[in-house]
């Protein structure tokens, strides 16, 4: 094991510790598409996905279009006995706000709109600048850190399951139709899954790191 030393500090950059159990491994040179697992707990410790910037950027931009589309188009509409009711995603939030449940309304807004949107914007900023080979900025590292951190709190996928459950619950009550926003959000769930499966954090950090 050779340590490359800089002026102040010994570097351990040829090693990697498992995030799940802290076991130390040599950093391996992976071929495209390969990944390395921890010997002890089998967590993934290194990835090397091909065309990660191109693919994740494409999915991110698609996600932004879909999310914005879903906010400003009708989501669900229902009719019964001549009364029509049509809601957008924001109406669902507003119904909580109006029922004296302001905090829950805000939390829902955050979980299904603001956090997914924030995550997509941060990702787009980082990936677009990397794609255009612009200078790496400190703010890109901060943005990417937060984009990764926000992931479990963006709940568009869970919201869609909730919507399907709601549809089943009221299908006997009234005639229902789904609008553009419904399909846009469903597509967004797929696109979010695409982002997660194409995004290679190791590759992105290798391009963002500030000591080279």
């Amino acid at each position: 094991m050779t340590f490359t030393s800089s002026n102040q500090e010994v570097s351990f950059d040829n090693m990697v510790a498992c995030p799940g159990c802290d076991l130390l491994h040599h950093r391996r040179a992976l071929a495209l598409g390969e990944y390395a697992q921890c010997e002890r707990c089998n967590d993934v410790i290194q990835t090397c996905k091909s065309h990660t910037v191109d693919r994740s950027l494409a999915a991110t931009l698609a996600g932004l279009v879909l999310l914005l589309l879903s906010l400003f188009t009708p989501f669900l509409s229902l009719s019964r006995a001549g009364i029509e009711s049509s809601i957008s995603v924001l109406d669902a939030v507003q119904s909580l706000w109006n029922s004296q449940m302001r905090w829950l309304g805000l939390a829902t807004l955050a979980l299904i709109v603001l956090l997914p949107l924030g995550r997509l914007v941060l990702m787009a900023y980082v990936l677009l600048r990397l794609r255009l080979r612009r200078k790496v900025r400190q703010s890109m590292r901060l943005a990417f850190r937060w984009a990764v951190k926000l992931e479990p709190w963006a709940m568009a996928d869970i919201f869609m399951v909730g919507v399907v459950v709601s549809l089943v619950k009221i299908s006997t009550l009234a005639k229902l139709s789904v609008g553009i926003a419904f399909w846009a959000l469903l597509a967004l769930v797929g696109v979010s899954w695409l982002i997660n499966s194409t995004l290679c954090k190791d590759t992105i950090w290798a391009r963002l790191r500030q000591d080279q």
Binding site: M1, E9, V10, F12, D13, M15, V16, A17, P19, G20, C21, D22, L23, L24, H25, H26, E39, C41, I45, L76, L78, R80, I83, S85, I87, A92, S95, L96, S99, M101, W103, L104, A107, T108, I112, Q138, R141, L142, R145, P152, M155, I158, F159, V161, G162, V163, V165, S166, V168, K169, I170, T172, L173, K201, D202, W205, L208, R209, Q210, D211
Partner: protein, 219 residues
């Protein structure tokens, strides 16, 4: 430090800590931000077990009113009807929507209760240094991190129904106060799971002693 050590020692045992965002290793006593990504590098999530207990207690306490108080109030020509989580499941069974009934039951009852039990077990096993298989603990922790978000389904169901069913005299649905408590319960249980550092689950009493020796040897 020979190469034979990798794969058999932890970073902590040879005096290193890894950055949680980019994975770069640095010495435990080096308090400067990560050289690659600028994040603060911590050996372990701070006060991991205490924070887990605190968040978990809030989650468990909030789960009681979440189940007792109504989460959805339906005002229709048939009269006023208040639904709790469990009565909502039963009304789905009543209308023979068995699949959806199972989804809601699993998401709102099985997942939260299962998560409480698992996190309590993990936290107790850490607190009292139980002799428990590290592989089992690791798997349990992975399960809680994965399933936690899905409990929010019922909150979104209520939000959508309340927004959609505003049909005046025929039927109006408003969210009940219980849905607040339920959301608090789910979010705090997620926080509890994320404050538990998975690496600590591998550090039994013996390993911790070895760490102390390792640290004093490297510094």
């Amino acid at each position: 430090m020979g190469s034979a050590q990798t794969g058999s020692v932890t970073a902590r045992e040879i005096g290193l800590k890894s950055c949680s965002s980019c994975g770069r290793l640095q010495k435990i006593d080096n308090d400067s931000p990560c050289r690659w990504c600028g994040a603060t590098v911590l050996l372990r999530r701070p006060m991991s077990v205490q924070r887990t207990w605190a968040f978990l207690l809030v989650g468990m306490i909030a789960y009681i009113p979440a189940n007792i108080l109504p989460i959805m109030i339906t005002d229709s020509y048939e009269g006023l009807r208040e639904d709790t989580i469990l009565s909502g499941v039963f009304s789905l069974i009543g209308t023979e929507d068995y699949f959806v009934a199972v989804v809601v039951f699993v998401a709102s009852i099985c997942v939260p209760v299962g998560k409480f039990l698992i996190i309590v077990l993990l936290a107790i096993s850490l607190q009292f240094e139980w002799d428990m298989s590290e592989h089992t603990r690791h798997r349990l922790h992975a399960v809680t991190e994965f399933i936690g978000r899905w409990s929010m389904i019922d909150v979104f169901v209520v939000a959508v129904l309340a927004a959609l069913i505003q049909l005046g005299a025929i039927m109006t649905i408003t969210p009940g106060i219980g849905v607040n408590a339920f959301a608090v319960s789910v979010l705090f249980t997620m926080l509890a799971a994320s404050s538990l550092d998975p690496r600590m689950l591998w550090e039994t009493q013996n390993a911790c002693n070895a760490t102390d020796r390792g640290e004093s040897a490297t510094t």
